[in-house]
């Protein structure tokens, strides 16, 4: 309940700032009308950029992958010894 109140207050603050900008016309009016849509589009773009950058910088740890494969083979052998079949079927 508290979290959505916080979100709604934030939206109200942004709306009042926008209406205030409209009233005092510090920025030319045509720009002020387009400001919310521009903010939403730039926020979406920023999110996409962060996803792309994160994808590019993702670490792969090849040594850990090798160790993991060895662990898998060892576990498979152990379970097969105990009588449980873990082949891919």
């Amino acid at each position: 309940m508290k979290h959505i109140v916080k979100i709604i207050t934030l939206l109200m603050v942004i709306a009042t700032v926008w209406v205030g900008l409209l009233q005092t016309s510090t920025i030319p009016r045509s720009h002020t009308w387009l400001l919310p849509i521009y903010c939403v589009v730039s926020l979406g773009c920023y999110g996409l950029l962060m996803v792309g950058v994160g994808l590019m910088q993702f670490p792969t740890c090849p040594q850990e992958a090798l160790l993991l494969q060895q662990d898998i083979i060892e576990a498979k052998g152990y379970l097969k010894q105990k009588g449980i079949d873990v082949s891919v079927s």
Binding site: P28, S30, L34, I37, Y38, V40, S42, Y46, L48, M56
Partner: protein
């Protein structure tokens, strides 16, 4: 493989930067340029600057609600 991941990430960031610069130009810089300038030929009329994001947002909302409704119906049918 990491090369495919890197390529996808690079393409995504490239798309986002292109969209951002194009939209910034469209909304902020173009109204200050004279209407005789040649650059206006590369940009659609200004009404589309509002239409395209709004229609994309509405389409996204519709898609999400249809998906949620479909999943809810499928889970209810499986339980009954």
């Amino acid at each position: 493989m990491e090369l495919a991941d890197r390529a996808v990430g690079f393409i995504l960031s490239l798309i986002s930067v292109t969209i951002f610069t194009y939209y910034t130009f469209w909304v902020i810089i173009l109204p200050f340029v004279d209407s005789n300038h040649f650059i206006h030929r590369y940009f659609l009329p200004q009404e589309y600057a509002i239409l395209i994001p709004v229609s994309a947002g509405v389409a996204l909302l519709c898609f999400i609600s249809i998906f949620i409704g479909y999943v809810m119906l499928k889970s209810k049918k499986k339980k009954a």
